[in-house]
Symmetry: C2
Subunit: 203 residues, 2 copies
């Protein structure tokens, strides 16, 4: 791995619809440029405590805009989207489970993340329920009981905490957030700019 | 003016570099779709008091990102940009002066706004100084002494306050912010989406 061929770090919070939209595009984008994607769920709420930002639904004016924006983004891109029945969610369970899945089978873990996003935003499933999340994992080949256990396993509590600390250390303040060759890009809106960056090797 | 041929409302804060980048593109974009642009400076600080958001430079992590982002946006677009010596600025003077200019000569007022942006971000001028701002107005045909007087004229204090209240009433929470046929778009990143909206008449 060299400085110009490292993975695209894809930092995201499962409770972020913008991350869902980005998740649907990032692997294809990376492939176009011969890059891999490092999927990195983290706890945006921990970051917000540090930056004193509020979750979008709690922000006056900006929250209303976001709810409307998610709907029109989905229509524009022709992808399924419904606001989850419980929203925002506390993503501890799916995020810990992701890191367990990554250890069990790194190649299949992104498929699990996509399955979780799809479960939450396309199917309206409660992915904060360990049983529900593990069933989604099973559908892409993971052992469901092992995933359920991982949700309360100290190793994966620690793994998620460490990744969240790593995110903060790298300046990640929102979701989704991409880092490629050290260059940060915030927001699903910035995928076109990220792609120019990859094409030119920066500017 | 019908619902599908009204102006693009361009709400902006002079102290916002993202608004500067958008200002350089918006008239050309509007022309491509047979629209006009209603330039609408407002006081973002007043909105932030309501939404409890902080100015970008005061936000940890996000502030650092923004400073870096402005530099790379300017390089990508090939436009001049330097962080103003005093930043952020309090934009009362240029914003009041803009509304005075708009009353004197509506057609020339956008050129004055562009001159103020250029003065601030390309030439490093202190546009909070009424004399400096009025000189920029004179270079696009306005009467400099009249502009200087307008900066402390109650009519334009009131006009700016009214526009800022209007912005809040319309859900404007950041800068730049565009409204076209009632549809809101936040951020210079959203100009491509706004353009798709104009092309299709919504989606």
């Amino acid at each position: 791995m060299t400085g110009t061929s490292g993975p695209i770090e894809f930092w995201f919070e499962f409770s972020s619809p913008y991350a869902y939209f980005a998740a649907l595009e990032i692997e294809e984008l990376a492939r176009r440029h011969g890059r891999s994607v490092a999927w990195r769920p983290f706890l945006l709420g921990v970051v917000f405590k540090l930056t004193k930002m509020a979750p979008l639904p709690d922000q006056s004016l900006r929250g209303d805009y976001a709810f409307r924006d998610w709907e029109r983004l989905a229509r524009l891109r022709g992808v399924p989207y419904t606001l989850p029945p419980k929203f925002p969610i506390v993503s501890l369970v799916p995020a810990r489970m992701f890191y367990a899945a990554e250890q069990m089978n790194p190649e299949a873990a992104p498929k699990f993340a996509l399955g979780l996003f799809d479960g939450l935003y396309a199917k309206g499933l409660d992915i904060t329920d360990a049983g529900v999340a593990a069933t989604l994992g099973a559908s892409v080949g993971f052992d469901a009981p092992a995933l359920v256990r991982s949700a309360s396993d100290q190793r994966y509590k620690d793994a998620l905490r460490a990744r969240t600390d790593e995110a903060i250390g790298k300046g990640v303040f929102g979701s989704p957030f991409f880092i490629v060759d050290g260059e940060p890009f915030w927001g699903s809106d910035r995928l076109p700019m990220l792609e120019i960056w990859l094409s030119r090797g920066g500017w």
